[in-house]
Each structure stands twice: as structure tokens, then as C-alpha cells.
Amino acid sequence: MASNSEFISRGYSSWLGGLSNLWGKENRRWWGTRFWLVQLIIWVLIINGITFAVYQIPVEEMYDTMESGETGPATLETVVQHPELLGLVPFMRLAGLGMVIGVLVIAQGAVIGEKQGGTAAWVLSKPVSRSAFILSKLAGFGLGIFGVMCVLIGITLYVQIWLSTGVLIPPLRYAGMIGLVFLDLLFYLTLSIMLGTFFNSRGALIGIPLILVFSYMIIPNIPAWLIAIMPWNLLDDLTQQALALSVVQGQPIQSFTPLFATVLWCIGFTGIAIWRFQREEF
């Protein structure tokens, strides 16, 4: 038998011990299997399919539909001058609802699945810190969601809009919009991971974030301050034009509060998840 003196040992950090290995495992789960491809196909079919359908409808008719839903860009003239909006606005709506549901479904087992399946106890019997366990989930799922739902889908949509309208959206502005889509998805990812440290029921994990997603649509007279500190205004027009729409159009930003508040929410959810997971018993 060989001796362990021939190996280069790792240091055991009580804060980040095991993070790189766990993150590597999460990345292999996303990118080393067909998982990313399945996700890509699903979202290409949904996003690009709907965008394709939208561009088959005459602009005037589409504008009427958007106006009646009170969610469209301001004027018909704007839409005619900027046909790319007909692809971007539905995408932002879908990202704010469909992709959020997708994130919740994908992430539901991230913590609960490992707690219930016994793999969390196994991993945590190794020199792994509990904060590293949570951060690896966040980093692994975050990268996967960013890579597939934001970058790859973002590129296919960009190309599709260009082919459909001939408009090349300024890449930096477009990247800014995609960044805001990611921030919105990150909000729900961190929320889901945090809830996974509190609950053992997947129902609660999906139900609670969904209440948040739909609350601004179904609860009347939500105070403006609440809308300002939630991520709703990132992708949807509420008290102001959607932040992502302003960014992609190069318009002045009315308020950065939703952006900063969402970043703070994400940090807060992650901190609470780590705090709660430190107290978990297996």
C-alpha cells in the first residue's frame, strides 16, 4: 500500500473547504451530461418558437394585442421603427415568468434532494464546509442557468431577431438586458436554495416563489415602495418602464433601486441559506 506522504494535501478551510470540488461536481452535472442540451432545446423551442410566431403577425395587429394588454412599448411608431422590440418584449415576459418557473423546477432538488437522498450527509462527512456546500449549489446552478438560459438562448434570440428584422441590436446594450434577465433568475435561484435549507417539502419550494412571481399580477394596489425593492420591475413595466427594456433601448434609467435591491436580496438569501444550513442536522 502506498503512503499518503506522497500526496499534496489540501488545506481545510472552515469557510470554503471543498468548494472547488463541489462546484466541479455541479458543473459536471450540468455540462458533463446531456442536461444542458435538454434545457437548451426546451428553451429554444419556447423562446425562439414564440418569437418566430410573433414575427409572423403583422406589426399593427401585434401592437394592438400588446396595447390591449397594457404591456407594450409606447407607440405604434416606436414599434415600426424598432421591430426588434416585438421579439424582445415577449422574451422579457417569458423570462420573468416561464424561465423563473423553469429555474424553480430545476433548482427544487438542489438542497432538498441531497438532504432527503442522504448524499448531503455523505458529502458533509468529508472535509467540506457547509457554506461551501451552499455556495457550490449557487455557483453550479447559477453558471448553468447563465450559460444556457441567458448566454445560449440570448445568442439564438439575437440571431433570430437579426434574421427576422435585419436589426443588429448594439451588443453591449443587449448584454446589459441579458444581465438583468440573469439577475431576475438569480433572485429566484437564491430564494429557492434558501427555502431548501428550511423545508423538506418541494411544494413549499416552488409554491412560495410562485406566490412572489404572481403577486404583483393578482394583488391590487401594491405599494410603489414594495415594487421598487422587488425584482418585478427588472423585466416588466410596473411603476416604471422595465429596466431591461430601458437598457436595451439605450434610454435613461428611471431608477436603479430594483437592480440594487435585487442584488441585496440575492446576497441576503444566500447568507440566510448558509446560516440555516450550518444548523442543519443529518
Partner: protein, 322 residues
């Protein structure tokens, strides 16, 4: 307890309660280095709870403990850096192969060199006889194969302490034999702390034993000491023929404490308790002096662990011992 080696595990009044259930109560455990320490107790005795507390998977309600001198609460990650652990019902990522699982495990301990890590993984797979299945996903593994993989992942990092929770409980006799065999092969490299309720296994491989019942420690000693029991000297005989006369004669000897004889199918089974070991030959001579008796078997009764265990548990339950 006479401890020649330094202690690897030491707990002080370690307690754990789950809501109103006291799972563990004032446990003072001392596990010497290089021992195969059998942690014995019926189901629900608190064995797994103790292991989880030692590994930081659960938090004590009161009391504390040290492993390698590191505090189990504050320095858990350093402890886990030197420990290999096999859970009672081990679970792994089923999409991984056995080799990937060992890679994943080894990566928590070693940065490299890559070639050495590969060699170690191959060596470990070989040790548990899984080389031919190394690249198959775990989800197709049998219970025995998963258990062997469990042992492999537990010792891939050359642990100074191997903690095995019921390592042979779910295995068939061959699987059990294999697991005990692996444990015996590893004993020269590491301290092995393992829980079990299979007394034969403990008797076969352990050198030190601790008995736990209902969350309380009821005995802790080297196995020879425990098996010696109360120190009573009892001889067993198997005879044929009329025994009443010689039984009466033997009972009257000053060095004889007690004689029990039971008759089964023309045979008489004796248990003679004596005060002086040197009277062994005299006892046999006295029995054989009766020409109507044929002695078929004679020898000192050896207590097995099961008897020790049951008598200790019984004593505690009757409140004779705390």
C-alpha cells in the same frame, strides 16, 4: 481502563436529545489509537447518533468530545480531514461510476499528483474487489457492491481513523466475511471505530469493545477483559449414567460453589462453579471415580460476547449498574 496508546476519540458527558427523546446520555468514550473498536448495542442504542456527533453531522445537546485532540464542535472540518466514514445506509451520486465517486472523494483530500491519485484509486478499487466494475454507474450496483464501494471511499484518503456504521448489517454471509476481511487488512494502517449489533463480528475482529444501551454506556473494555466477565470459574461436563450420588459428593466439596445438572436424552449436562482453578483435575477425578458414569465431554465454560452483552444489559435494566 488501561490505555497504553494515546486516545483517538475521547468524549466527555456527551448528550444528545431529539425533542423529548434522549438519544445519548453522558457518554464518556475512550478509543485508543490502532484499536479495532467495536461499538456495540441494539438498534436505537445511540450508536449512529454518537458517530454523527463525532463527525459534526449533528450537534450535541450538552457535553463534548475530541477526535485527534480537535474539538468536535469547533474543529470538525479538521477531524473530517483525517477520518474515513462509511454510513449505515451509504448514498452516493448514482449517475457517477465507482471510479468517479472515488475521484470525487479523493479530491476533497488531495490536490495531486494526478498520477498518484489515479494509482491510489486503482489500488482502493482493487482492495474492495471492484476493479472490474469501476466504470459502471453506481445505480446498477448491488447492496454488497455499494457497501464495498463505501469502504473504498472511506479509506481512499488513508484515514487515521476509519468510522464504519454497521458495515456488515445489510450483507449476506459472504459479503459480511469480505467486509470483515477488509477491516482486518486495514487494521495495521488505521484505527477502526465501528458500530454493530452483530456480536459474532465484534468477537472476530475487535480488540476493544464498548456496549451502549438506550443511549447509555454500560461497559467499555478490551475484549478479553469483557469476555472474562465476573471472573467466575465454571466447568461444563457431559456424562452418561446415574449422577445423583456423585453430584451430592461434589457439591459437598469446600471449593465447589454450585452444581447444576440437567438431564436430556439420557445425557447429563453439568455446570460446576468452583472457587479455585487449580481444582480442575480434582473435579474430573471425582466425577470419574463413580464407575457408573461415563464422561463424554469436559472443559471450562467460555463466556461468549452474547452472554456478556445480555447479562450487562439485563443488569442495567434491573438497576444494578449505571
Amino acid at each position: 481502563m488501561d490505555i497504553k496508546n494515546p486516545l483517538v476519540i475521547e468524549t466527555q458527558n456527551l448528550c444528545k436529545a431529539y425533542k423529548k427523546i434522549q438519544a445519548l446520555c453522558s457518554l464518556n468514550l475512550q478509543v485508543p489509537q490502532h484499536s479495532i473498536f467495536g461499538f456495540l448495542g441494539p438498534n436505537g442504542a445511540g450508536k449512529t447518533t454518537t458517530i454523527k456527533l463525532l463527525l459534526g453531522l449533528a450537534h450535541p445537546t450538552s457535553g463534548g468530545g475530541k477526535v485527534f485532540g480537535y474539538d468536535i464542535l469547533r474543529e470538525s472540518i479538521k477531524i473530517r480531514g483525517r477520518v474515513g466514514y462509511l454510513a449505515q445506509d451509504p448514498r452516493y451520486y448514482e449517475y457517477m461510476t465507482a471510479r468517479e465517486t472515488l475521484h470525487f472523494t479523493a479530491n476533497f483530500f488531495f490536490k495531486g499528483p494526478k498520477r498518484k491519485v489515479e494509482e491510489r484509486i486503482a489500488e482502493t478499487l482493487d482492495l474492495v474487489d471492484l476493479s472490474d466494475k469501476a466504470d459502471r454507474p453506481i445505480k446498477g450496483f448491488s447492496g454488497g457492491e455499494k457497501q464495498r464501494l463505501g469502504i473504498a471511499q472511506a479509506q481512499v484518503n488513508y484515514p487515521d481513523l476509519l468510522i464504519l456504521d454497521e458495515p456488515a448489517a445489510s450483507l449476506d454471509p459472504q459479503g459480511r466475511h469480505d467486509v470483515l476481511d477488509v477491516m482486518e487488512r486495514l487494521r495495521k494502517y488505521t484505527t477502526i471505530f465501528y458500530s454493530t449489533h452483530i456480536l459474532d463480528d465484534v468477537q472476530r475482529v475487535s480488540d476493544t469493545v464498548c456496549i451502549l444501551n438506550k443511549g447509555k454506556l454500560i461497559a467499555q473494555a478490551p475484549i478479553e477483559q469483557l469476555m472474562a466477565g465476573s471472573g467466575e470459574i465454571i466447568y461444563q461436563l457431559d456424562t452418561q449414567g446415574e449422577v445423583n450420588k456423585v453430584k451430592e459428593f461434589i457439591s459437598s466439596q469446600p471449593w465447589v460453589k454450585k452444581v447444576n445438572v440437567t438431564n436430556v436424552d439420557g445425557h447429563s449436562s453439568w455446570e460446576v462453579s468452583i472457587t479455585d482453578e487449580s481444582m480442575e483435575d480434582q473435579l474430573l477425578r471425582l466425577v470419574m471415580s463413580d464407575l457408573n458414569i461415563r464422561v463424554k465431554d469436559f472443559g471450562r465454560r467460555k463466556q461468549d460476547l452474547e452472554e456478556v452483552f445480555l447479562s450487562l444489559v439485563k443488569e442495567v435494566e434491573h438497576g444494578k449498574q449505571q
